[in-house]
Structures are given as structure tokens and as C-alpha cells.
């Protein structure tokens, strides 16, 4: 039996995301939807694993907005539903959410946003807590794994109490961290779906689910938030630890609570510093916060990304000037904590050192000197395409076609593992000078292509992954075709949402429930809008190069090249080598070859290394995935591939 369904009272090691999934199960969730995105993906993934057993409907939706719509339909029908996404997914969903908070909800509806302070696996440091305030929905933030489960469960009840969607915010260090959780009971409910809509327009249980009349519905949202405030005042998830009158009050939430606790311990300040850990961060419970503000003259806000707590507490304080006289606030505004990037216990300890003018115990000087000496020996280890990655071959083809064309064409980038083509040093042969949100590569390419009348004369290419194609590219592609944008659009189709763990997408014949479903073909969609479509294998350098070269020369609207090759880490490929690859030392001319080490300096596969003694290329058989592409790039034909295990 999977640990997600462990019996009540059992003690289990859960990933933060698994704890959230378990909390939803304990709340009797019936429907769950998501678009995969680090660090959120394991929530739906773990629910999809037990969907059959628990009779859930689970869906990897095409994007976050649709995911919320799918979950909302369940809520309107009286079912409990969860929807999960990464931070910038909330941006995508926000238009529907704006109207959803106005129409209200029925069955408990919980939106989980897993955010990535420091952008460990993102190209943005987005902050969705402001969406909770802007879209007027309650916000909860768990600070450990038990709380991740318990708060999720409570979020469903809260959502039903006020008839509105509740947002739960996690962060990478919570979602992708693990800890002990004591399980609660799994309910034995058989929920029935029923959507009532014939009642009066302002009747939240029987009326239509619409956002009008707008002002009346907006006032209703404000009333709901007042109810929430009152509930938050009494929430057991908000906790204070420390002396009754601390010299410094820390106000914090989420993983930052664990950093703050650790930092206070590191400096031995437990008797001087109090920590108010808030789990209910919007709307703030005013009485609770004011009470604690009055207990101390100095206040430090410990939070990541933006100064959400700091601003909202200061707004409360501004309303009570006579009680707030003589208070000093520390946080991001005064620079006590960094304005960007993720926090950790050391950064928080550094802030406390400044405030208290104390110093943490340092390492012995001799050790510090040894650290410095060793540090000079360590080369960086940059992210790069994996050995056997189809993207390396695709970008090799693209770069060569652009070079051959000679007009300094470039690629508008998009979101996926292939975004790494925009990084150094992977850019040995890459050209990806733009990188923004999902689908925006195609939108930008379309825009560049209209600039010919202003003298713009470079060929424009753009790439996207297969999952990204469905998520956000289609409108931009239609726009490009309709406006006769002369672009080469390349789909890097690696047969799944590879970066986040091979979740299925509409191009595959399998759903999150494991059922066989119709695949929606990328080629068919592109053909249907009138684009010219070709399909190739990026490992076939010759054929792919020919098509690309022809596409760059050809005038006319959208030209689509679908490059199909499964990800090297995909379940169907992992651990199997199509080819056994080795370097024939007699044929490799090493430094003497005129190629200037094309294989190791330019192609840059982590499995193709350089023997510094022999001054020749060598394949690391532990790292090599056996794609065999390098055999085709060696001008000496010194890299030999033989049929392998797959």
C-alpha cells in the first residue's frame, strides 16, 4: 500500500507536497487538477497514483487557468476540489480567479501555489501572496510538514464556511523538503455531484455562479474576508514562542519560521527574541498582530521574495499610531534582510547579529584558511543538457543552420529544459537571446517578424516543448500565421513534460488516471491553421539540417519543424543505451586535428570528456546515455558507435 494512504495515527516521512496531498485526502477531496511545475508537481502526481483506489478524478490540465476551471466546476457541484500550480501559474489562472472570488464557490476549493524563492528551478522569482490580497481570497502558509497536511485539510472547511476559494502557499524548501507527519483519518464518503442554479442571483447555494451584479458581489467578498479575519484571530496555527516582553519580535511564516528558529538558537537569543509564526497571512488577524506588536519595541520581518507581511503589518500599525510610538521595524524595507533571493538560517542569523551587535561563534582561523585554499580548487558545475539529451542535438542543428544562412538569425526562447540554451556555458553553439514566460517565444517571434518595414532583416526562429505547445503557444501561433509572420517555429517534442517528471499532456494517449485518451496531434493543429509542417528526428543531423536550412531561406508565413526524440531520462529510455560509443584513439588526432576540439569544446556533452594525458577525446561510459549523436559530429570519424542494449 502506498504511504499516502497510511492508516490514521501512523508516522510517515512525507515530502511537503505529499503532506498537502494527504491533507486533501483527509478532507475528502474528490477532484484534483494541476499543470506541472516545479516545485508543485508531486501534489497531483501522488494523488494520481491513488485516484482509482479513492475514486478521485485527477487531471493534468492543459494549463493553470483551465485547471482552476475544472476544479471550480466540481466545487459548484458541491464537491471538494484542489488545484495546484507553481507561482507563475497563478498569473495564468488569475483572470478566472478574479471572477471566481466574485461568483463564490460551494464545495471546498483550495488553490495550492508552490513558489520558488531564489528561483532554484524557475526563470522568475514570482510572488503569489499578493494575488491573495488582489483577488481577495484567504491565504494560508504552512511552516512544517505536519502543518502542511493539517492546514490543507482545514483550508477545505474554511472555503466552505465562507463560500470562497482559499489559497495555500508553499515554497520549494517546504514542498521539496520532507519530514515526519502523523496521519489523520481518511473519510469514507461517497460524494454526489449536483449543480443548482435556478435560485436568486445573490443566493450562493442555489443561484447562478456569476460575478454580477458586480458591486453587490464585491461587497459580499469584503464581508467574507471579515468573517475570515475573525476565524484567523482564533486559529491554533498561529503560534508565538518566546518571552512575554521580547527585546525583538520576529514576525514570520512558512519555511522562514524554521530559519528564524534556527538562527535564534545559533546565537543563543532564545530569552531575548520572540517569534510570532503566522499561518494565516491574508487577511491578517488584526487583534493578534497588534497584541504582539505592543509586546516589543523592535520588530523584524523574516520573509522571502517580497515584503508582504511587512507591508500588511505596517498598514495595521499605521491605524494605531498612539500604540506604535517608538517602534523600530527591520526587514526588507530598511535593508536588514536582502531584497531578493531565498533566505536560510545564516542570512537570518546575520540580520540578528546586526540588530543585537553580537557575533556567532566562528570556525577556527586555521580551518577558515584551509577552506579558502580548498575553495580555489573547485571549478563550478553548471547545469547543462544531460548526456543523450535531444535538445543538445536540436540546438546543434539550429546553430549550424543559422551559421550557414549567414544573416545572424536568432531563437526566441521558451520554458522547459531547453531554456538552458540561454545559459552559459551551455551556449557554446546556442543562440537564445530572449526567454520569458510559457508561450512567449512564439509571441515575440511573431512580433520581430513584423519589423521588416523598419529595416529588421534577421531570420527569426522560436522553439517550444511539446507540453508548452498546448499550454500557451497555440494562440501566439495562430496570431503569427494570421498576420503572415515569417518565422521558423520548432517544437522540441521529447514525448512528455520532461522537466517536471514526465507528466502526460494532450499530445499523449494517456491521462493522469492512467486511462487511454485521444492524443491531440501537434502536427495536425499546425496544419489546420495553414502552416507548413515538417517532422524530423533531431539525432538525424543531416536531414534536420537540410529542412532547417530550407525553412530559413523560404519566404512566407509560419514554417513548423517538429523535432521528435524522447528525453534521455524518460521511462522508456532510462538505463538503456541505443549505442555503445567509444573513441578510437588511433583515429582521434586530438589537439593536432584541425577541428579545434569540436566534440569537447563545442558539443559539450558531459559524457564526452578529454583525456589530458593522451590529449584525446574519451567517452565516460558511466555518464554516456548512448544516443550516438557525437559519432556524426567528429570530422575524423573517430567516435565509433555500435548497437547497444536498447
Amino acid at each position: 500500500m502506498t504511504k499516502l494512504l497510511a492508516p490514521a495515527k501512523s508516522k510517515v516521512l512525507f515530502l511537503g507536497n505529499e503532506a498537502i496531498a494527504r491533507g486533501a485526502l483527509e478532507a475528502g477531496v474528490a477532484v484534483a487538477s494541476a499543470y506541472p511545475g516545479t516545485p508543485s508537481s508531486e501534489i497531483l502526481e501522488s494523488l494520481s497514483g491513488i485516484a482509482g483506489e479513492r475514486n478521485l478524478y485527477v487531471e493534468w490540465s492543459v494549463n493553470e487557468k483551465v485547471a482552476v476551471e475544472v476544479a471550480a466546476a466540481a466545487s459548484f457541484s458541491g464537491l471538494r476540489a484542489l488545484v495546484a500550480m507553481k507561482q507563475n501559474g497563478v498569473n495564468v489562472a488569475s483572470d478566472f480567479l478574479l471572477h471566481l472570488t466574485a461568483s463564490g464557490t460551494r464545495g471546498g476549493l483550495v488553490l495550492v501555489s508552490c513558489e520558488d524563492p531564489g528561483a532554484l528551478s524557475s526563470v522568475n522569482e514570482g510572488e503569489s501572496r499578493y494575488f491573495a490580497r488582489m483577488l481577495e481570497m484567504p491565504l494560508l502558509e504552512p511552516a512544517d510538514f505536519q502543518e502542511a497536511k493539517d492546514l490543507t485539510k482545514w483550508a477545505f472547511a474554511l472555503s466552505e464556511t465562507i463560500g470562497n476559494v482559499v489559497m495555500l502557499r508553499s515554497v520549494t524548501r517546504m514542498s521539496h523538503a520532507s519530514g515526519n507527519v502523523i496521519c489523520g483519518k481518511l473519510p469514507n464518503r461517497k460524494p454526489r455531484a449536483n449543480f443548482e442554479y435556478g435560485g436568486p442571483v445573490m443566493d450562493s447555494q442555489t443561484g447562478p455562479m456569476i460575478s454580477t451584479p458586480v458591486v453587490a458581489k464585491h461587497l459580499l467578498i469584503r464581508q467574507k474576508l471579515k468573517t475570515v479575519e475573525a476565524l484567523f484571530e482564533k486559529s491554533p496555527f498561529n503560534r508565538y514562542a518566546g518571552p512575554a516582553r521580547p527585546e525583538l519580535l520576529i514576525i514570520t511564516s512558512s519555511a522562514c519560521f524554521l530559519y528564524a528558529t534556527e538562527a535564534v538558537g545559533l546565537l543563543g537569543l532564545q530569552d531575548r527574541v520572540g517569534i510570532l509564526k503566522l499561518a494565516t497571512t491574508w487577511p491578517l488577524p488584526p487583534r493578534l498582530v497588534t497584541k504582539h506588536l505592543q509586546s516589543a519595541n523592535r520588530v523584524l520581518f523574516v520573509e522571502e521574495v517580497m515584503s508582504f507581511l511587512e507591508e500588511n503589518v505596517k498598514v495595521l500599525a499605521a491605524g494605531r499610531p498612539e500604540q506604535m510610538r517608538g517602534k523600530t521595524f527591520f526587514g526588507k524595507y530598511d535593508g536588514t534582510l536582502p531584497a531578493a533571493g531565498e533566505l536560510n538560517p545564516d542570512i537570518v542569523a546575520g540580520a540578528l547579529e546586526k540588530i543585537f551587535k553580537v557575533r556567532r561563534k566562528r570556525l577556527p582561523a586555521a580551518y577558515a584558511a584551509a577552506v579558502q585554499k580548498a575553495g580555489a580548487l573547485i571549478p563550478p558545475r553548471e547545469q547543462t543538457f544531460c548526456a543523450g539529451c535531444p535538445h543538445r542535438a536540436s540546438f546543434w542543428n539550429i546553430a549550424n543552420a543559422i551559421a550557414l544562412d549567414g544573416r545572424r538569425g536568432f531563437v526566441c526562447g521558451d520554458i522547459g529544459c531547453y531554456s538552458m540554451a540561454a545559459l552559459t556555458p551551455a551556449n557554446g553553439y546556442h543562440t537564445m537571446p530572449t526567454l520569458h514566460s510559457m508561450g512567449s517565444g512564439t509571441g515575440l517571434a511573431g512580433g520581430f517578424s513584423q519589423l521588416g518595414r523598419f529595416g529588421f532583416d534577421k531570420p527569426i526562429l522560436t522553439v517550444c516543448g511539446d507540453s508548452t505547445f498546448y499550454h500557451a503557444v497555440i494562440p501566439a501561433l495562430i496570431n503569427a500565421q494570421h498576420h503572415r509572420a515569417d518565422i521558423t517555429f520548432i517544437v522540441l517534442d521529447n514525448a512528455g513534460t520532461a522537466m517536471t517528471g514526465f507528466q502526460p499532456h494532450p499530445g499523449l494517449e494517456v491521462s493522469a488516471l492512467g486511462e487511454t485518451v485521444p492524443a491531440v496531434e501537434i502536427a495536425a493543429i499546425c496544419s489546420a491553421i495553414g502552416a507548413k509542417v515538417a517532422i524530423a528526428d533531431p539525432f538525424d543531423l543531416e536531414n534536420t539540417g537540410k529542412i532547417l536550412t530550407a525553412f530559413l531561406r523560404e519566404k512566407g508565413p509560419v514554417k513548423v519543424l517538429i523535432l521528435r526524440q524522447a528525453c534521455a531520462l524518460s521511462p522508456q529510455k532510462k538505463g538503456k543505451k541505443t549505442f555503445e560509443v567509444e573513441v578510437n584513439e588511433d583515429l582521434c588526432l586530438g589537439d593536432a586535428c584541425g577541428c579545434n576540439r569540436l566534440c569537447t569544446r563545442i558539443f559539450r556533452c558531459p559524457a564526452l570528456t578529454w583525456d589530458r594525458k593522451k590529449k584525446k577525446a574519451v567517452v565516460d561510459r558511466v555518464v554516456c546515455a548512448g544516443c550516438g549523436v557525437c559519432a556524426a559530429i567528429c570530422p575524423q570519424k573517430a567516435i565509433i558507435k555500435k548497437q547497444g542494449t536498447a
Partner: protein, 203 residues
């Protein structure tokens, strides 16, 4: 060897290069320790960071409380490394004079080393640095054992077997066997036990 029972929080960092089985190893270790009654917090990052980059799991093994998923600088009691350069990288941030290190010997070269722009530290330089930055260290060729057993990724289990033998953490073969019964199929269990035993023999 009889393992010691921690009364205070033990901090372990498991490090390596994406694809070496770091996450699986940290989960396996943590699973055993949770069953043994500890409150374990694991902090790790995965996703894009695993694409050929350095990976790190922070394990906090506490008798009673959830800890920060990030260990403070200089706070590692034990470092287990699947790759020697990553061992060094971790030691320079989280090491202290009391740190013990168990590291695999086989390098995975960063791209900058492959292209020739950077140098990989020599064996002597690595040993000298490990000497200076640890109380004690073990350097074993776990990858070769994995290759002999048919799959280099088994080196992570070889390292767990070796770690058990060092007695640095409170777990043994019996607990490992119980843990993998939950997570692996029967045919894989036998192979993993062989890897575990081979690791223990190297200490």
C-alpha cells in the same frame, strides 16, 4: 558495528551530481531513521537543478523537533558524497573540524573541465583538502562496485552500506532491508543488498 544514538541533532549532507541517485539515497536513509524514532527533516532541491548540476540533500536527524531544511554553514556532522569534487564543495561551506566525510572516488567532470577552461583538482590535492577539512574521511570507489554489479547508479547504495559500517548514524543492515521492502521489488532488493554489503566491506 554498534551505532551511536544521537541525543542532539545530527546534520548529514548527501551530495553528488544530478542523476547519481542522491534523492533515492536520502529518502532511504531518512525512512530508516524515522522508523527508528527520530524526527527527520530533509531539505533538497530537484527539478531543473538535477540537469548535470550539483545536488545536495540536507538531513537533520533530531530526537524531537523539525529543523530548518537548510543546515547552517559550518554545521555538517557527516558528509556523504557520490562525487569527490562535490564533497569538497560541500566541505568548504558546511564543514567544521569535527566533520566526517565518506566519499566516492570517481570524478564526474564539469563542462568547464571538459572544455579545458578549468582544472579538476588532482587526487593529491583532494586528499590534502579532505585531511584539512575533516576529522576523518573515507574515500572508496563505489562506482566500480556498481559497475561490477551491473549498474553504476548502485553506487549510492554502496555508499549507504559503507555509511552503516562507519557507525556514524544509527542504522544497520536489518533496517535497510526493512526499508527497501517498502520501496523496491523483490528482484531489485537482492541486488541492492549486495551493493549494501559490498559498501560495508570497503570500510
Amino acid at each position: 558495528m554498534k551505532a551511536k544514538t544521537p541525543k542532539v541533532t545530527q546534520n548529514l549532507i548527501l551530495t553528488g551530481v544530478g542523476g547519481q541517485g542522491n534523492v533515492m539515497a536520502s529518502r532511504t536513509l531518512a525512512g530508516m531513521l524515522v522508523d527508528a524514532g527520530y524526527v527527520v527533516t530533509i531539505g533538497e532541491t530537484f527539478g531543473m537543478s538535477q540537469r548535470g548540476g550539483s545536488v545536495m540533500s540536507h538531513l537533520r536527524i533530531s530526537p524531537d523537533a523539525v529543523k530548518s531544511p537548510q543546515i547552517p554553514q559550518g554545521g555538517a556532522d557527516v558528509v556523504v558524497a557520490l562525487e569527490p569534487l562535490e564533497a569538497l564543495r560541500v566541505l568548504t561551506v558546511y564543514g567544521n573540524p569535527g566533520t566526517s566525510l565518506l566519499t566516492n572516488a570517481r570524478p564526474v567532470y564539469p563542462i568547464g573541465v571538459i572544455t579545458g577552461e578549468r582544472d579538476y583538482p588532482s587526487d593529491e590535492a583532494l586528499r590534502e583538502a579532505f585531511d584539512a577539512l575533516t576529522q576523518h574521511y573515507w574515500l572508496i570507489d563505489a562506482t566500480s562496485v556498481g559497475l561490477e554489479l551491473g549498474n553504476p547508479v548502485l553506487s549510492n547504495i554502496v555508499m549507504i552500506g559503507a555509511l552503516a559500517k562507519t557507525g556514524l548514524l544509527p542504522f544497520d543492515r536489518k533496517m535497510f532491508e526493512k526499508e527497501i521492502r517498502k520501496t523496491l521489488s523483490a528482484d531489485k532488493r537482492a541486488l541492492n543488498l549486495r551493493a549494501f554489503d559490498a559498501g560495508a566491506e570497503m570500510i
